[in-house]
């Protein structure tokens, strides 16, 4: 055990600590997104027509492609973990890089969506030609919340791309596999958050 971890009595104890730390961190992040979702659900209940209208005008195809991208990336990362466990490091590295690439793709598609919204005159705060053309009560709230929620999520995806990319470069060995598990868990969490945002902003 190295000097910076000799306060642990074993590697197993350190692994347990890392896993628990990530679990606690994700609990905290869950509350972060719950707060955003509370705003979304609250305003949706007050302005059902505006939200239906907003959903109808959202970039459904791109948003759904993004869902597929994220689900694929989570799958590839899960398989990468299994590859790492069974010692197939090369495959694991390739799959991990692929996951990071999916994350980049997600962000690129998201930016495309934002460009599309701006082109239609949809800006946060209810500014833009779209709102002049459709003066529906509560419509600004829908779009502003959309930017808030996808913005926060996007920041988390970006951080995830960094973490996953770093993992791909510094693939841990069998005794340190908990580090990979931690990164994977974070990425799955980010995916899970999107699975809440996607129906609220793109479907019904």
């Amino acid at each position: 055990m190295s000097a910076d971890s000799d306060h642990f009595e074993s590697v197993a104890q350190r692994a347990q600590a890392v896993r628990l730390a990530l679990g606690v961190f994700l609990a905290s992040e869950t509350l972060l997104f719950t707060a955003i979702l509370a705003l979304v659900v609250g305003y949706r209940a007050t302005w059902p027509e505006a939200f239906a209208f907003g959903v109808h005008h959202n970039t459904k195809v791109l948003g759904s492609i993004n869902t597929v991208v994220l689900l694929t990336s989570s799958t590839s990362l899960a398989v990468a973990l299994e590859m790492l466990r069974t010692g197939r490091r090369r495959v694991a590295t390739a799959l991990t890089l692929f996951t990071a690439a999916c994350g980049v793709a997600f962000l690129a598609i998201k930016i495309t969506e934002y460009e599309h919204h701006f082109a239609e005159g949809i800006y946060p705060g209810g500014r833009g030609a779209f709102f002049v053309a459709h003066p529906i009560a509560g419509l600004p709230a829908f779009w502003t919340l959309y930017f808030l929620a996808t913005g926060f999520h996007g920041v988390h995806v970006l951080a995830g791309v960094g973490a996953v990319g770093y993992r791909a470069i510094r693939m841990p060995d069998a005794t340190e596999i908990h580090r990979f598990e931690a990164t994977a868990l974070y990425w799955h969490f980010v995916d899970l958050v999107w699975l809440f945002l996607w129906p609220l902003f793109y479907l019904a």
Partner: protein, 325 residues
């Protein structure tokens, strides 16, 4: 009900009890503060006794007995204390809800709070700034909103307070007040002149109030509402005499049970009416087409209040069941 003697009221720094509600609230206050003082005194006394009795002396024992509380005693104490607190909560709840529910036939005053003044508009159409005039012994209802940020209408002598919120109307019921002049404070921080947003409730006895009433020169706030309804096109779809047009008639609407197109039934109160002005397609009355435009952002608070007063003034008008007048 415990009646708080004047001496106790002065000792606690409480203002006069200008309404029956204030007196009830003070009774509960007396019970709670007494419990607080007694509880604190008991804790202090027992601690003091233990410290004296079990003071560490020179022949300090090397060990003390290991004493653990009996679970039963703990549960019993906790339950007793909880029961007491729940008792306070129950009485408090009853009193709290009583200030929301005005009996019918109550005098109404519309209150608009704005940085940094209070505007009061009466049913007869006149308005006053910072001074609210009402008749002694008559309950009245405040229908309140704010023009800009959250303020809070607070009359210590009545023991009432209600935040005024921009974009919403809230109601507060004040029961019969004794004649006198009572300060109004704004109780929600609202900017640099928050502490200057003062007002006065002037409660006049019968005679003085009659004099004040006679000085009214306006046709009435409801008449103002009719002006607003005409100029904004409301009357083309909403008749005042019970006729069913593209929209429901205002006659008999206020306070009635309204069936909605999704099967629910709601009461047409201030909240429903103002929401329908702003988002007409949300809770649409059953049997009417979805064509009312939204007036979001087009009406001032004063105009909306006038429309409300118009609709209220027609609440006892029986619909004419489709007969042309």
């Amino acid at each position: 009900m415990i009646v708080l003697p004047d001496l106790a009221r002065h000792a606690l720094g409480l203002p006069v009890e200008a309404t029956p509600t204030a007196a009830s609230v003070d009774s509960l206050h007396a019970a709670v503060i007494t419990t607080t003082l007694v509880g604190t005194a008991c804790v202090a006394a027992v601690t003091f006794v233990f410290v004296l009795r079990y003071r560490r002396t020179r022949e300090a024992p090397a060990a003390t007995p290991r004493i653990v509380a009996s679970g039963f005693r703990e549960w019993l104490t906790a339950s007793a204390v909880l029961a007491l607190f729940v008792g306070f909560w129950a009485v408090g709840y009853v009193q709290y809800t009583s200030i929301e529910r005005p009996p019918s036939g109550t005098l109404v005053v519309y209150v608009t709070a704005k940085q940094w003044m209070w505007q009061f508009t009466y049913a007869d159409g006149r308005s006053s700034e910072d001074v609210l005039v009402v008749r002694a012994g008559t309950p009245f209802e405040l229908v309140m909103t704010s023009r800009d940020v959250i303020h809070s209408f607070f009359v210590p002598s009545f023991r009432i307070k209600q935040d005024t919120i921009p974009g919403r109307w809230v109601t507060l019921y004040v029961d019969a007040a004794a004649p006198g002049s009572y300060p109004i404070y704004c109780a929600e921080f609202c900017g640099v002149a928050h502490s200057h947003m003062l007002g006065e409730v002037r409660v006049l006895d019968e005679a003085d109030y009659a004099v004040w009433e006679r000085e009214a020169t306006h046709d009435g706030y409801a008449a103002r509402g009719r002006e607003v309804a005409a100029s904004h096109g409301c009357l083309s779809c909403h008749a005042l005499d019970g006729q069913k047009r593209a929209g429901p008639s205002f006659a008999g609407l206020y306070g009635s049970r309204v069936p909605l197109d999704d099967g629910r039934v709601v009461i047409a109160d201030e909240a429903y009416l103002t929401h329908s002005i702003v988002d007409p397609l949300a809770d649409r009355v059953a049997g009417y087409p979805a064509m009312m435009p939204s007036y979001h952002g087009q009406l001032s608070a004063e105009e909306t209040g006038a429309l409300l007063e118009l609709i209220r003034s027609l609440r006892d008008t029986l619909p004419t069941q489709g007969r042309v007048p």
